[in-house]
Each structure stands twice: as structure tokens, then as C-alpha cells.
């Protein structure tokens, strides 16, 4: 056995250990989750009642922008990279990630990117205020001076994601234990492999679009300025060519997580493993040809509208297959409902509701009424909060005993679940209604008929926020002590990670395991 971790702060600065880096990713993403959450609560506090009470419209727009950016790039994506760092080597019987030094670097540039992004809040003219989708020319000609810092922050985040993705692909393709064939890999590994390819395909596109903005702002080009021969709609095409695969980047690893958890607590193997792999691949492929469904109202030719409508509707098919497979996995199992399972079941139900509203949004003529309303806000929060956030939470409860060797407090875990579940539905379900009734998104003040539901949503948001503090408390308490976990932790779970001791030693699988 090799040496253990170094002492002091240098352990974390110089580490090339996948577990240390995974831990740092997870803590970083939780910090960003709280920061993005505070931004969201500022939004919900202002929207508690009609009228302007707490913040000015200018600052409100900065909050919506920063909330989106921090949650997408700071909370969800690094959390999944952290889970991949911890779990992928252990699941495929590898001693570490394939490129450990790059792994260190891909994490350590992130805090700088977000420090730079957060610093814009204190700059003259304020933080970026043009929405997380930063449509030109609002984000170029009309942007506050801090937009340049935003652009460089996005560049750094993109570099970090690309390095993380290269590392994951190299690890999965080259470092599987003998006998671990592709079609024996756990689904979490499969979904991350596909996600990593998506990342490599689209993060350069994001870097390209922000660089074009930089050129327009500082170097006199007119990519997005019609007066100079450019096209503001070009921005949206390039952005959403990145943006749509990006939303699957945030959900495919979540599919992987629940595909690990549900079989464990149903005590039954995953139903339709092969079809799960094919469905995930189909979703990844389709994600590249549906981008303009975010732009049904820009005035595309009707042939374009029809193509993107049909392609978008098609996504329902592989997504449906996945949901049916999870339900059938549970069917005739022997189920128990520990915290990870509760979060996973809530994932299946609420993600499906988000899928339904997605299907409705795919119908282009109906989208003319839904587009840019709170219906859309409800939709993407239903797929991202119970989708990405719940699956990450489930993953933490599921693997935490393996990571630190102690069992978490089940009562506290379940309390966290029910608070989050009720808070989430109270926050986001009424948004469907106000959206259909005509409330546009990204407004700091609203007409009186939307008042009741907005008040519910704000109450729900604070409940959801409070639940996360309980989560933090539970995790810290578990790391510091608690009932010792067994090596298997759960009842006969599948997977190599359960064959190593709890807590997992600093180095695992220095000699490859036998995979039958």
C-alpha cells in the first residue's frame, strides 16, 4: 500500500488523489449552491408581493443572471464532476483518474473563475444583468463594464470542464479492471462517459460565443450587431447549440445516479440495462439537433420550426424508456425507503412532471404562449431541481458512508427530504399556473392577478433553502462521527465500490480486482 495523504493545506493544494479532488469539487459546489441559493432567495423575497420593496430592477436582473450562472456552472456541473472523481475509478476498479495532475488543475482554476464572477457584484455598474442566457446585444453593446470579467470567468469554467471531461473519458476507456467490459460498466459510469463527450463537443462552442462577444465589445467586430452586418439571432443559435446539450450535461449523470440507487433499495437488478445505455446515447445525439426549440419566437422559417418541433418531440421517446425502466425496476422488488431512495423516487416522479411540461413546450404553436413565461421557469426548475439537485443529494446520502465510514442520521435525512420535497413543489408548481395565466419571466414586479401564487412560491423557496442547512449539518455530523458503516453499507448492493472497506482507503484498487 502506498503512502497516505500529506499533512496540512498542501494536501489539498498539491493533491492528485481522485478522492481528495472529488471531495474538494463537492464542497466547492455546495458552497456555490448556497451562494446561488441566496441569490434565488433575494429574487423570491422581492417577488413575495407586487410592488418594488427590497431591490431595484437593475439589481434584480443581476440576481437572476448570477443565480443561473452560479447554479449551472458552479453548483450542478462541479458536483457531478466531484461524484465522477470519487466514484468512477472505484466503480471500474481503477487506482485513480488517468490524468491526476490535470485533475488537480481542472479543480483549482474553478475557485478563481467564480471569485472573478462574484467580484463583478462590487464593480461600478454592477454584475452581469442580462440573464444567464446573455442574449446580444443586451450583453454586448448594452452590457455593464463587468461583462468582460464575466467572459473570462466563462472561459476558465469551460477550460475546467473540458479538462474534467478529457480525464473522465481517458479513465473510463483505458483504466477499467480486466473483465470490466463496456456493457458491464455501472450506468453512472456510462452516463458520465456520454456526458463527457457532450462537454468536449459543446464547451468550445460556449467559449467561441463569449469570444465573439469580447470581439464585439472591445475590438470593433459586429458578429451580433445588425448595423455592422452581423446578426443578433446568430448569438442565440450558437448559444443554444451549446445550451441544449448543456442541459443534458446536467441531467445524464443524474440518470446514472438513480440507476445505481433504485436497484439497491428495490433489491432487484436494474431493468433493461442495455436499453438504458441506448436511450442515454439517443438522448445525447438528439440534444445536438433540437437547440432552436429555445427560439421558436425569433421568426425562423416555418420549415425550421417544424424540424425543431418534431426533433424535440422525439426526445420524449428515449426519456420515456428510461422512466419506464426505473418503474419496472421497482416493480415486484422488495423496497425500503432510506433517504437516498426517497430522493431517487422523487426524482423519477418530479422529473417526469418536468418532462411532461417539456413535451408541452415542444409543441411550437403552444410554445408561442408558453415561451419566456413562468411556465418555462417551472419546467426547467422541475427538471433541474428534482433532476440534478435531488440526484446529487441522493448520491451524497448513498455514498457518504463509503466516503467517511459513518452512517448519516436517517431521521435528519428524511426530514431534509420532506422539507425539500414540499418546499420545491410549493415553489415551482404554482409557477406553471402564473406562467399559463400570462406572467413573463425575469420581471421584478408583476400584475396583481399573479400575487397569491407568487407568495406561495416565495414561502416554498425559503423552506427549500432551510432544508439545505439541515443537509449541511447532517453531512458534517456524519463526517465527524456516527454509527460505523459496514463495508457494504446497504443490503447486497451491486458494484465494486462496495467491495472496499468503509471508509474507502486513500488508495483503492492498486491491484485491479477480478470482475466476473
Amino acid at each position: 500500500m502506498a503512502h497516505g495523504p500529506a499533512k496540512g493545506i498542501t494536501r489539498w493544494l498539491y493533491t492528485t488523489n481522485h478522492k481528495d479532488i472529488g471531495t474538494m469539487y463537492l464542497w466547492f459546489s455546495f458552497a456555490m449552491f448556497l451562494l446561488g441559493g441566496v441569490f434565488a432567495l433575494v429574487i423570491r423575497a422581492e417577488l413575495f408581493e407586487p410592488g418594488l420593496q427590497i431591490v431595484e430592477p437593475e439589481f434584480f436582473n443581476q440576481m437572476t443572471t448570477m443565480h443561473g450562472l452560479v447554479m449551472v456552472f458552479g453548483a450542478v456541473m462541479p458536483a457531478f464532476v466531484g461524484l465522477a472523481n470519487w466514484m468512477v475509478p472505484m466503480m471500474i476498479g481503477a487506482p485513480d483518474m488517468a490524468l491526476p495532475r490535470m485533475n488537480n488543475w481542472s479543480f483549482w482554476i474553478l475557485p478563481f473563475a467564480f471569485a472573478m464572477l462574484a467580484s463583478t457584484l462590487f464593480m461600478e455598474g454592477g454584475a452581469p444583468n442580462f440573464g444567464w442566457t446573455f442574449y446580444a446585444p443586451l450583453s454586448t453593446t448594452y452590457a455593464p463594464p463587468s461583462v468582460t470579467f464575466f467572459i473570462f470567468a466563462v472561459h476558465i469554467m469551460g477550460a475546467s470542464s473540458i479538462m474534467g471531461a478529457i480525464n473522465i473519458i481517458a479513465t473510463i476507456l483505458n483504466m477499467r479492471a480486466p473483465g470490466m467490459t463496456m456493457m458491464k460498466m455501472p450506468l453512472f459510469v456510462w452516463t458520465w462517459l456520454i456526458t463527457a463527450y457532450l462537454l468536449i463537443a459543446v464547451m468550445p462552442v460556449l467559449a467561441g460565443v463569449v469570444t465573439m462577444m469580447l470581439m464585439d465589445i472591445h475590438f470593433g467586430t459586429s458578429f451580433f450587431d445588425a448595423a455592422g452586418g452581423g446578426d443578433p439571432v446568430l448569438f442565440q443559435h450558437v448559444f443554444w447549440f451549446f445550451g441544449h446539450p448543456e442541459v443534458y450535461i446536467m441531467i445524464l449523470p443524474a440518470f446514472g445516479v438513480v440507476s445505481q440507487i433504485i436497484p439497491t433499495f428495490a433489491r432487484k437488478p436494474l431493468f433493461g440495462y442495455a436499453s438504458m445505455v441506448y436511450a442515454t446515447s439517443s438522448i445525447a445525439f438528439l440534444s445536438f439537433i433540437v437547440w432552436a426549440h429555445h427560439m421558436f419566437t425569433v421568426g425562423m422559417p416555418v420549415a425550421g420550426e417544424l424540424f425543431f418541433m418534431y426533433a424535440t418531440m422525439l426526445i420524449a421517446v428515449p426519456t420515456g424508456v428510461k422512466v419506464f425502466n426505473w418503474v419496472t425496476t421497482m416493480f415486484k422488488g422488495s423496497m425500503t425507503f432510506e433517504t437516498p431512495m426517497l430522493f431517487s423516487i422523487a426524482f423519477v416522479i418530479l422529473f417526469t412532471i418536468g418532462g411532461f411540461s417539456g413535451l408541452m413546450l415542444a409543441i411550437a404553436p403552444a410554445d408561442f404562449q408558453y415561451h419566456d413565461t413562468y411556465f418555462v421557469v417551472a419546467h426547467f426548475h422541475y427538471v433541474l431541481v428534482p433532476g440534478a439537485i435531488f440526484s446529487i443529494t441522493a448520491a451524497v446520502y448513498y455514498w457518504l458512508p463509503k466516503w467517511c465510514g459513518n452512517m448519516y442520521n436517517e431521521v435528519m435525512g428524511k426530514t431534509h427530504f420532506w422539507m425539500a420535497f414540499i418546499g420545491l413543489n410549493l415553489t415551482f408548481f404554482p409557477m406553471h399556473f402564473v406562467g399559463l395565466a400570462g406572467m413573463p419571466r425575469r420581471i421584478p414586479d408583476y400584475a396583481l392577478q399573479f400575487a397569491d401564487f407568487n407568495m406561495y412560491a416565495s414561502v416554498g423557496a425559503f423552506l427549500f433553502g432551510a432544508a439545505q442547512i439541515l443537509f449541511l449539518f447532517n453531512v458534517i455530523a456524519t463526517i465527524r462521527g456516527g454509527r460505523k458503516a459496514t463495508d457494504e453499507v446497504w443490503e447486497n448492493p451491486e458494484g465494486l465500490e462496495w467491495t472496499v472497506p468503509s471508509p474507502a482507503p486513500y488508495h483503492t484498487f492498486s491491484t485491479p480486482p477480478d470482475v466476473k
Binding site: 410592488g51 445588425a226 424508456v321 408541452m360 404562449q369 419566456d372 395565466a437 420581471i443 400584475a447
Partner: protein, 381 residues
Amino acid sequence: MCIRVKRLFACLLVLLTGLSQSALADEIERWGVNMTQGVTPVSRDIYGLHMDIFWWCVGIGVVVFGVMFYTMIVHRKSQGAKASNFHESTTLEIIWTVVPFLILIVMAIPATNTLLKIYDTEDADMDIIITGYQWKWKYEYLGEDVSFFSNLSTSRDEIENRVPKGPNYLLEVDEPLIIPVKKKVRFLITAADVIHAWWVPELAVKKDAIPGYVNESWTYVDEPGIYRGQCAELCGKDHGFMPIVVKALPQPEYDAWLVAKREQAAALKALTEKTFTFDELYAQGEKVYGTVCVACHQSGGEGVPGVFPAIKASAIATGGMNGHLDMVVNGSSKNPAMQAYGPQLSEVDIASVVTYQRNAFGNNMGDSIQPIDVLKFKQGQ
């Protein structure tokens, strides 16, 4: 989806809630939980599509969640359930691939038809050019020599909670868009600065207003009435404060309005020649400032540091008259948010607002300018 299935679900819902059908409908109406059916043939088609796809989703949801809850109740370890070991069935996989696909085809057909109808902008009876500005709309009646701006008319006092809010809070404007009923009205939609989106739910028209491009859309309103909407694309600070109000009138009333509007414009033009007193200019200027300038420069003229410059004690408002006029008429070359108001405001309004700015907020310059001098300034350029 067939009517019978729809009714079945509606009945189920009613049974579940224990309400009579009309009471339920009333509740839904009161809370505003659903999309409007609107007042045009297209809006009703869209509502139909929306309800069809909604009921399909409800149906699928009932089956999937039904199985899930059944299994969660019956197949639990605490109930002594023993786990089976089945984990593959090609037949099942094929069924649940093909069936959703067929449902999608059933939905795609009417959606395609409606979309083609919406895209048919030919043979319009009249055209209106709609231009989005930060943060107001301009309406130009093509070939009619009528054009005007439409600004939010809700007062700052209501927004800042100093007085109770009116029933149309944030959904009221100083001059609504007037259109005739039972006419195919084509909208040519564009923008002057950033991207906006013109949306009126009851007309089911939502189209992006993009600087440098002209988008087409159309409507055919059945019944006279007032229909309210809002900008739907984030367009900066006051995105939430640029509503749209459409007033649909019977043809004769519409024609009369058009004539009156032209006369009003001519009368306004004649005022350019008139000499105003300082107090008249100041009073009118205060009104114009409250509609046009206040969003950025704030009610006390203090601006927003780092974003919108102050007028209070500013070099321009307390400097030479020509420099001040130049800024208002031609806008700022450095800050695109300061638009060129020359083409937007009448000479009277420009003279008034410049006079106001030079004398309000403690600027106390003591001077004023007449509309005719504004006209000369514009012509002299």
C-alpha cells in the same frame, strides 16, 4: 384526443375534488391557473393544442404514477415482499418505445396545421409596424401617417407602494394600440436597441422584436375589447415595465379614431410655432420627464451611479444650451442607453423637458428654450 377521454378525465378530477363542474371552472377562472382561450381563431387553436397535450400528459402520468404508487405500497420489504429477479424484456421495451412514438404523431399533425396557419401572413387588410424601445413600444400605421409611442402609465407611487395599486397595475399604458375587429392585421415587428418580444396572450401573438430585422405576425380579433400583454424578452432594467395594451374597436369607431389621431398630430405640430411661458414649459417638462427620463435618471435626477449618469448638477444640464439639446436630440455616443430623442419626442416636449431639467433638482439655471428653437436646432444640423 377524443372528447370522451377528455370528459372522463374531467369527471375524475371533479369526483376527486368533490366540486361540481361549474364550481371547479369558476375556481380555475378565479385563480387564473390556465392559458386563456383568447379572442382570435389562432388563439383558440393553440388553446386546443395546449389542452390536448395536457390531457395526454395527465393520462400517461396516471398510468406511470399509478404503477409506481401501487408498487411502492405493495412491494415493500416491510410487507414481506420478496424481490423477483427479472431484468429484461425486449417485448416491453419495444412496446414502450412504439406507443409513445404513435402518440407523438397524433399530436404532431394538428400542431403542424396550426403552425402553418400562423405562418400564413399573406393577404392582410392592414399593416402596423411595431418597434420595441428600452422601455416602450412604438406603433406606426403603415400608409396612414399615424404613429405614436406607448408608455407605461402606472405611477411610480403605485410601484413603490406609496399608494394602493390600481386594478390594471403594470398592465396600463398612456396610448394603447388601436385595431379594428374582424380584420386581418399584420404586425411588422422590430426593435431599436436590444431584443424585445411583443406578446398579447389573448391574441396568441408572441414575436421577438430584433434590432435590424423585421418579423411578421398577424391577428384577427373577433370581439371588441381591451387586451393586455407584456414584453416577453429580457431587455434591461425596465423589462417588467413596458406593457402592451391593444384596444380592438368596431370598424367605424376605428376609422373615427384614425381621423382624430391625425388632427391631434397636426394640432401638436402647430404648437411648435407658439411661444410658451417658463411655467408652461416647466410643467409640461415635468410630465415628459416622468414618462421618458425617470426610468434611468430617477425621480430626483440623481441617476444610478456607474450605470445611468445624474442630471442633478451635471455638466450637461448646467452647461451650454446647445450641448444639452444635442444630448437629448441625438443621444449619447458613449452610452447607448441614452437614445436619440429627436425623432421620438415633439419639439414642444423636447423644449419642455430640457427647460425642466435645467431648472429642477436644484440646477436652477433660470433659462428656458422655445419649441421653435428646438426645430431650428434640428434643422441646423
